[in-house]
């Protein structure tokens, strides 16, 4: 079953990846086995993904990130929430993100 994102949780990047910002691109490089399909694959985040990723600081829960993005992009929190949940669940599924366990 695919993992579900929790609005009250604080998520942090997994130790199995390294996220690198290079020339305006956010590139995720797998470190541990089983993240990519080996060979030559890396991952990039789109602009929405990058904006969310930069707020995953190990202190801020998803609810607060939604509020912050809603203000910055002048968008409805419900619309932002869809993006956040979509990204976080995709990253959890790929083992690129973990729940920090912090309240």
């Amino acid at each position: 079953m695919d993992p579900k994102a929790d609005l009250n949780a604080v998520y942090i990047p997994s130790d199995d990846i390294v996220a690198r910002e290079i020339e305006g691109e956010l590139i995720i490089v797998p470190i541990g086995s089983g993240i990519g399909d080996m060979e030559t694959e890396l991952y990039t985040l789109n602009e929405t993904g990058q904006a969310i990723w930069r707020r995953l600081d190990g202190k801020t829960d998803l609810k607060s990130i939604i509020a912050s993005l809603s203000e910055e992009f002048r968008a409805q929190p419900t619309e932002i929430e869809k993006d956040i949940m979509g990204l976080i669940e995709e990253l959890l599924k790929r083992r690129m993100l973990i729940d920090s366990g912090k309240p």
Partner: protein
């Protein structure tokens, strides 16, 4: 915020990754040592396993760590570890794990004889993200060790390959074609496929380099005798004749004009660089003329990439023989002539190399691009000649 695809899997190549601007250093090759546990008869760079002068001069793990960190700060995504035999370095595991933790993909080029269970365990847990490249010179003890010069090396190489297979670590085989084994290439490929070593056919080195440090005329003499004849090179290149000719037509369809006085027909140091085991930064692994290398111990990668290599790219050839021949030749895509190889062969950057000239002319004649005894820098109505060749099958 309308997008719904957040994470995109991309293949690692410059075109796919960089929609806006590529980093000034995307890929770095590091020659960890020139020492090798084999003593291959054709090798252009090797020193003995315990060669003390080399050991004394090699960059330390700390030096290399600093280079890796600076490379990452410049956007580098891929590092190649080569040699000599890079697994001779006792700190290889530390350098490998540091590279991966910094977010670098690692290309390892090895003879596989020192691949241990411990190393494959590390590769299983922290994959290199690039296929390990293994140089293999034969598929039996006699043929392999006639090249490697070391008893027991074939068994050790096969054991290393088996360890990669057992742990599902992807690798490729790179063979070398010599005057003595060119007729056995098909047997080599058949055996390699039977052993499930590789998915497709191995890649080959078909053009042997002379000594990169210009350090042994006796070794150069031997390498010259091992080189394939021009016909031998053509034979390997055209094993699948239809596909080869199609590739050649595609290649020449992009031809615009001879290089003129441009010294480099590539873009040396544009996004890539190579570091030798003593701290000299090169535009590529082969280019070692002292005037073309940058002393990294007293400088930094950024300066080399932003200032040193761009100046190199702008250099012009001066040798009248080069200007009269290579400068007007349309076969540069078939020819291995380059400043790096010119240095190895002649001691300067712009002297035509007769061997490469003979090879490229021979291939061009077999393709019908040149008439018998015609020189490629003397072709009248060059555009028409190329057009006729490119449209040959229409």
């Amino acid at each position: 915020m309308m997008e719904r695809t957040y994470v995109t899997k991309v293949r690692f190549n410059r075109a796919a990754l960089w929609s806006k601007k590529a980093p000034i250093l995307g890929s770095l090759d590091i020659e960890l040592t020139e020492r090798c546990n084999n003593n291959c008869i054709h090798c252009y760079i090797n020193k003995p396993r315990n060669h003390k002068p080399s050991l004394a001069r090699e960059l330390s793990a700390q030096d290399i760590g600093e280079v890796l960190r600076e490379a990452v700060s410049l956007g580098c995504l891929s590092v190649g570890f080569t040699g000599g035999e890079p697994l001779l370095r006792e700190d290889f595991e530390d350098l490998y794990l540091l590279s991966r933790r910094l977010g670098l993909k690692v290309r390892l080029i090895t003879n596989a004889t020192l691949i241990t269970p411990r190393l494959t365990d590390i590769f299983s847990r922290v994959p290199p993200l690039e296929k390990v490249a293994i140089t293999l010179y034969g598929t039996d003890t006699n043929s392999y060790e006639a090249i490697s010069g070391r008893r027991g090396s074939y068994k050790a190489a096969i054991q290393g390959i088996q360890r990669l297979l057992d742990n599902k670590i992807p690798f490729i085989i790179k063979g070398t074609a010599f005057s003595s084994n060119a007729t056995k290439i098909r047997t080599f490929e058949k055996r390699a496929r039977m052993e499930s070593w590789i998915d497709g056919d191995p890649a080959y080195v078909i053009s042997l380099n002379l000594r990169a440090r210009r350090d042994s005329e006796s070794k150069n003499e031997r390498i010259r005798t091992l080189r394939l004849s021009p016909g031998g090179q053509y034979g390997i290149l055209s094993r699948n004749k239809g596909a080869f000719e199609k590739d050649m037509r595609r290649l020449f369809s992009r031809f615009s004009k001879p290089r003129g006085d441009r010294l480099f027909d590539c873009d040396p140091g544009l996004g890539n660089a190579a570091l030798d085991s003593y701290g000299h930064l090169q535009a590529c692994l082969l280019l070692r003329h002292p005037e073309t290398t940058y002393a990294l111990r007293t400088g930094n990668l950024r300066d080399a990439m932003q200032n040193f290599f761009p100046e190199l790219r702008g250099r012009r050839a001066k040798n009248p023989a080069f200007l009269a021949r290579c400068g007007r030749c349309f076969l540069s895509d078939l020819c291995d002539q380059c400043p790096a190889k010119s240095w190895m062969e002649t001691g300067d950057l712009d002297t035509p190399i007769e061997y490469y000239c003979r090879v490229s002319h021979s291939i061009a004649r077999k393709l019908g691009l040149l008439l018998a005894r015609e020189n490629a820098w003397e072709v009248p109505d060059l555009k028409k000649r190329i057009k006729t060749f490119v449209e040959g099958e229409k």
